[in-house]
Amino acid sequence: MTGKTLAEKLIGSHTAKGSVSAGEVVIVRVDYTFSHDASGPLLIQQLNTLKNVGSGMDKNRTVFFIDHAVPSPIKELSNDQATVRNYASSNGLILSDAGNGICHQVMAEDYAAPGDLLVGTDSHSCTSGGLCAFGTGMGATDIAVAMKLGKTWLRVPESVKMKIQGRLPRGVFAKDLILKSLSILGTDGATYKSLEFDGPAIDELEVYGRLTLANMTVEAGAKTGLVKSDTRTKQYLKDFGREQQWKEIHADDDASYESEIAINASDLQPQVAFPGSPSNVKPVSEAKDVKVNEVFIGSCTNTRIEDMRTVAQIFRKRQKAKDVKLIVTPSSKRLYLKCLEEGILETLLEAGAIITPPGCGVCYGAVGGIPADNEVIFSSSNRNFTGRTGNPKAQTYLGSPATAAAAAITGYITDPREFV
C-alpha cells in the first residue's frame, strides 16, 4: 500500500472507512462550518428551506462572522448583518460579531486545529491549511447542507508537492513565496488539487507564514493548501492557549503526488502581482518606480503578528510619503490588542497610518479606504481583480506587508530589503 498525502490523511480520518485515496468521492464529517455577512443572508435562506432536514446544528461548531464590511457603511449592509446576527443568536450558534475579526484569522486563532476538516462560505477557507487543518470554500447551498447534516461530500484531490528548498532571505517572506508559486501555476494550475508545501524553507517557517501560503492557494484554483503539523504548529497553538490540541501530522514518505514543483527560497526576491490577476507576478525590481497613491496593510492573507512586527520595524523613525494614504486594518481584535501591547500601533500612527477596525477592510471594497479613480493601491491582500477594492477605475498591486510598507515610505513600489 502506498503512503498518504496530507489531503488523503485529513480527509480519510473524517470518513467512515478511515482511509481514502485521491480520486475517490467520499462523505466526510465536518468539524466546523462557518459563514459571514457577505454570503450569510443567502445561506440563511437555504437553511430555512432545509428546516426539516438533519437533527439540529452543532452549536459549538457552527460559526457566523460579521467581518466583511465593519462597521457597516450603509443601511443595506447593516440589514444583511442584522439578518446574520439574529439568525446566529436565535439558533444559539457562535457569533463572531463586528470588530472581532476576519473569519479566517479568527478560525486560525480560536478554532481550527491540526487534523480538523472545516468548510466555509468563503473561498479563502483554505487558510487553516497553514496549521494542517483541511479547509475549503464552498457556496451557500453546500454550507447550508453541511451545517444541517454535519457532513459534506468531497472528491479526494490529487496533491501537488511544493518542494521549497533553501531558506527565505532577509526581506523576503511567505507572501513572496506564494506569489512566486502563483506565477508558476497560473490561476488554474491547481484547480481541484491540494497544494502541499514542504522542504527546508517550510521547516523554518512559523505557522503565521504558513497561513499566508495556504490562504492564497485558492488563487491557483486549489481546493486546499496544506502544511504539516510540527513543533512550530505546537508553538503556534501555545501562543493561543490551545497547546493541548496539537498533534503531529505529516505526509508519508512514499505518498503519491500528481506532480512536484521545486522552488529555491534562497534565490527568491520580493515579488509583486501586477493589476488584474494574482498570478501576474514579477520581481519587485520590475515594478519599481510605479507611483502609489494608497497602501493597504491588512486582510486574511497578511496581518499576522509577525507581519505587524516587520511593518513596525520598517516604520520606526520613518514617515509615510506625504501623498500616500496608509491604511492598516488589523485582522482581529486579538491581533489589535497584541499590536497595542507591543507599541506597534503607536509606531504606525506616528508614521501617518490610519488604523481601521478589524475586518476585511478595503480588500472587500465596501469600506475602509476605497481608492479614487485612476489611483494605484499597493495591497498586502490576496486579490487584485478589476474592481476588487471597490473602484474598477483603480489599479491594485499585491505584495508582502514589508513591500507595502516600503511603498508607503517612498511613494513608489520599492524593494523592502532597503528597509528591513
Binding site: 464552498m138 447542507v145 488554474d188 474598477p392
Partner: protein, 142 residues
C-alpha cells in the same frame, strides 16, 4: 437588504463587466459560452444564481473554477466542460445532457463532452442539492 442579497436586482448586472449589454440581451434558452477557468475566484453562489435567473439553459466552458462549478450544479444550472472554440456568438445550440452531445445546429457540427461525475449527475438530475437533500433527507451517494 444589500444589492448582493437582492437577487432579482443583482441579476440585472449579470456579467456586465464582461459584456455591458449582456443583461439586456440575454434571454430564456440562451447559453453562456466561455473559455478557460470560468467563475474564477470567489465562493459566492450569487454568480451562478443570477446567470440562471437570466434564463440561461447551461454554461459551456473549456474549464471551470472549482467552487463555481460545484455551486452551479448545486442550484441546478448545468455547467458543461466542452470544446467551446467551435461555437460563435449567435449559433443555435441544442443540448443533449444525458447523451453528452451538444448539437451546433448553425454549423451542423456535434460537440461531444464527457459525462459529469455520478455525484454531480445525481444532484443535477434532482434539480439541485436542496431538492436532493429534501428528497433523500441525507447525502447518500454511491
Amino acid at each position: 437588504m444589500s444589492l448582493r442579497s437582492n437577487l432579482p436586482e443583482l441579476a440585472k448586472h449579470t456579467l456586465e463587466d464582461a459584456r455591458k449589454e449582456f443583461p439586456s440581451r440575454v434571454g430564456k434558452g440562451d447559453f453562456v459560452v466561455a473559455g478557460k477557468n470560468f467563475g474564477m475566484g470567489s465562493s459566492r453562489e450569487h454568480a451562478p444564481i443570477v446567470i440562471k435567473m437570466c434564463g440561461v439553459t447551461a454554461v459551456l466552458a473549456q474549464s471551470f473554477a472549482r467552487i463555481f462549478y460545484r455551486n452551479a450544479i448545486n442550484i441546478g444550472l448545468p455547467a458543461i466542460v466542452c470544446d467551446t472554440t467551435a461555437i460563435d456568438e449567435g449559433d443555435e445550440l441544442e443540448l443533449h445532457l444525458s447523451d453528452g452531445i451538444l448539437d451546433n445546429l448553425t454549423r451542423k457540427t456535434k460537440i461531444r463532452f464527457p459525462a459529469m461525475s455520478s455525484t454531480m449527475d445525481a444532484i443535477l438530475s434532482e434539480g439541485g442539492l436542496i431538492a436532493y437533500v429534501e428528497k433523500h433527507g441525507d447525502l447518500v451517494f454511491s
